[in-house]
Symmetry: C2
Subunit: 332 residues, 2 copies
C-alpha cells in the first residue's frame, strides 16, 4: 500500500466528493464559509500509548481521533463541516486495518456531516499518531466562547459524566472487582471510553441560548472551574446534581473513589454550557426536543471562588484535579 | 514547563494577538476570509528521523516545519494567513530549545505574515513530530490548481533546483569529497536544505498569470510530470534550462550523479507554474519586479508523453524518480 493507493483507495471515499476536497488530487483544499458565517478551527492530536491503547481496534481509534475534535466544534455551537488529517504510521498499514480505521472515521462523518478535505501521510519510528484539524461553521460573531458566561447563568452538562473515566479503569482492569459491576455495565463504560457520543442535536439550542460553551475533556471539576474563571467569575457546582449513568451510579455507591474518578477523570466529551437563568426553561425544552439530556449542575457567580456543594463535597479539595495535558499519560 | 506555560509563555507570542487566535485561551479559533475570498488549507507533518534530523537545531526544525506548509500556499497563489500546530514532544522541552523552535516559526511568520491561531500539544514515546495546518486566502475560484495548465503553456520554476537535495547529501557527508566543493558552497547547500526560501513576492504574479501551480517538493522531474499529467496532458522539460546555483553547477560538472540528485531529489520548495505563452513575457516582467528569479524550463503539450531534452537527457529514464512519500526515509 503506497501513499497514492492509501489516499485514493481508502481516504478519498471520506471526502464524499465535496468540491472543497478536490478529490484529494491537488496540493491544497479550498473552502469558504457561507455568507455571514465564519469557520471555527480545532486541532487535536492523539498518540498511541498516551491517548489510546495501541491495541484498540482501528475502528475505535479512528472514531475517537475524529470525535474528540468534532466534540469541540459542537460545544462551541459550530456545525461540523470539514477536516484534515495528519496520519503518522509506524509501519505500512494492511488493508484490513486501514479499512477499519476509515470505518471509524466514517461513523463520525455519517453522524456529524463532516467531510475529509485533505491531509498528510507520514512514516514515524514512534507510535501511531493522528492529528485532526476539524473545521466548523458558526454565524459570524456567534462562536460560543469559553469565557462568555455572566453571573447568574445556569451551568448545564449534556449526557452523563464519568462513564469514560470509569471505562478507562475497566479497560485497564484497574478497579473492576471492587466496583462489582455486571459484565453489561462494564461493557457500557468501556464503549463510552472508546466512543464519545457527539451531542450534535444540541448545536442549534446552544447557538440560540448559551452564553459560554466548552467540552468536558479534562474532568468535570476542572472544566467547570475553567468555564467560570475564563469569564473572570466564580461558580457553584452541586455534585448531587451531576448526571450519572446506572453503571457509574452503581460503582460510586460502593466506592467513593469511583465518584471522584467520575467527576475528575477526563474523556467525557460532553458539552458544558452556561445559559442565562431567564432562558433556562426554553433551553431545557429545546434540548428535550432534540433528544439530548441536559442537566443543570450549578451556577456562575460573581464571587471568584469555585464552591462545591452536595453530599460528597469533601471532593472540593480535588477541584483542581483533572487530566493535565502533556504531563500525564492516560493509557498504555 | 507545563502546557499552560508553553502555550502562554512561548506560543502565544506567535499569534501577534490577531483576534482569530483568541489569545490561545479558548478551545477553538475562529476566522472568516475577506468578502470574495476563500481559505486554502494545507496540512503537512514532519517527523524527526524522516523529514529532519533529530539533532537539527530547534530553530531550523521550526523554520522548516512551517515553511514547507506555507510553500504550498504560495504555489497555489494563496496569501498565507493563519496556522495551527500539533506538536508531539518526546520529553518536556527546556526553555532554550522551545525558545529556538519558536524563533524558527517567527522567522517564517515575519516574512510571510502568517500567524498562529491554535493547536495541540501532546506527549509521545516516539520522535518529535510537528503537524502544521496552514491557511491562506485566495479570491474565490482563483486557487491555482495542479491540473489547470493548457497545451502550449510555458512551465516556470522559481529560484534554483537541487540545492536542498545536495544540501541533504552534505548534511549526511555522503558525497562531499567527490564534489570538491568549497566550505562556503557546502554551507550554502546545507542552509538551502534546512531553510527553504519562500517565494512570497511571486504570489500576485502567480494569481494574475499562471494557469497551474504547485511546489517542487518531491523532485523536479516527478513534479513536472505531475503538473502536466494532472491536466490530462504531457510536456517537454529541457534539462539544459533548469536553473542551478553555483555550488550545484560545480558539483554537477564533475559528477553526473550530482545532477541527477539535483533534478530528482526532494525538498526544493520552489514554485512550479504554468503560464500561457501569450502572457509569458508579462509574467517574467512581473517576477523580475518582485525580485524572484523565474526560469522557463519547458512546455505543456497535448501529447501525453513527458519528453526530456538537453545534454543530460539520458536521465529521462529517471523521470519517475523523486521522493516517494511514506515509503522512503530521507534522514536519520
Amino acid at each position: 500500500l503506497n501513499e497514492e493507493r492509501i489516499v485514493q483507495g481508502f481516504l478519498r471515499a471520506l471526502t464524499g466528493e465535496v468540491p472543497e476536497a478536490l478529490g484529494l488530487t491537488d496540493d491544497c483544499a479550498v473552502a469558504a464559509p457561507p455568507p455571514g458565517e465564519s469557520f471555527v478551527f480545532k486541532t487535536d492530536a492523539v498518540v498511541a500509548g498516551t491517548h489510546f491503547f495501541a491495541d484498540d481496534t482501528a475502528a475505535d481509534i479512528g472514531y475517537k481521533a475524529l470525535a474528540v475534535a468534532v466534540s469541540d466544534l459542537v460545544a462551541k455551537a459550530a456545525q461540523p463541516r470539514f477536516w484534515q488529517l495528519a496520519l503518522a504510521l509506524p509501519a505500512p498499514p494492511n488493508e484490513a486495518w486501514l479499512g477499519q480505521l476509515c470505518q471509524g472515521f466514517a461513523e463520525v462523518q455519517d453522524s456529524s456531516g463532516i467531510r475529509l478535505i485533505g491531509g498528510d501521510l507520514v512514516r514515524t519510528s514512534g507510535p501511531l499518531m493522528l492529528s485532526v484539524t476539524a473545521i466548523g461553521t458558526v454565524p459570524t460573531g456567534k462562536m460560543l466562547r469559553r469565557g462568555g458566561a455572566q453571573a447568574g447563568d445556569h451551568v448545564y452538562v449534556s449526557g452523563t459524566i464519568g462513564d469514560a473515566a470509569l471505562g478507562l479503569a475497566v479497560r485497564r482492569a484497574d478497579a473492576v472487582e471492587r466496583w462489582a459491576l455486571t459484565a453489561g455495565a462494564r461493557e457500557q463504560l468501556r464503549v463510552r471510553y472508546l466512543r464519545p457520543e457527539l451531542r450534535l442535536g444540541l448545536i442549534p439550542a446552544l447557538g440560540r441560548y448559551a452564553t459560554a460553551g466548552m467540552d468536558v475533556s479534562d474532568g468535570l471539576l476542572l472544566d467547570f472551574s475553567r468555564l467560570c474563571r475564563a469569564g473572570g467569575l466564580g461558580g457553584v457546582l452541586d455534585l448531587d446534581r451531576v448526571p450519572l449513568s446506572e453503571p457509574v451510579h452503581a460503582a460510586a455507591e460502593g466506592d467513593e473513589g469511583a465518584f471522584e474518578t467520575a467527576v475528575t477523570g477526563g474523556d467525557d466529551y460532553e458539552v458544558l454550557a452556561a445559559v442565562p437563568a431567564s432562558l433556562a426553561a426554553e433551553f431545557e425544552q429545546a434540548a428535550k426536543q432534540c433528544g439530548v439530556l441536559v442537566t443543570s449542575i450549578g451556577e456562575v457567580r460573581s464571587k471568584l471562588e469555585i464552591e462545591i456543594t452536595g453530599r460528597r463535597r469533601t471532593l472540593a479539595a480535588s477541584a483542581s484535579h483533572g487530566y493535565q495535558h502533556f504531563d500525564t499519560v492516560t493509557a498504555g
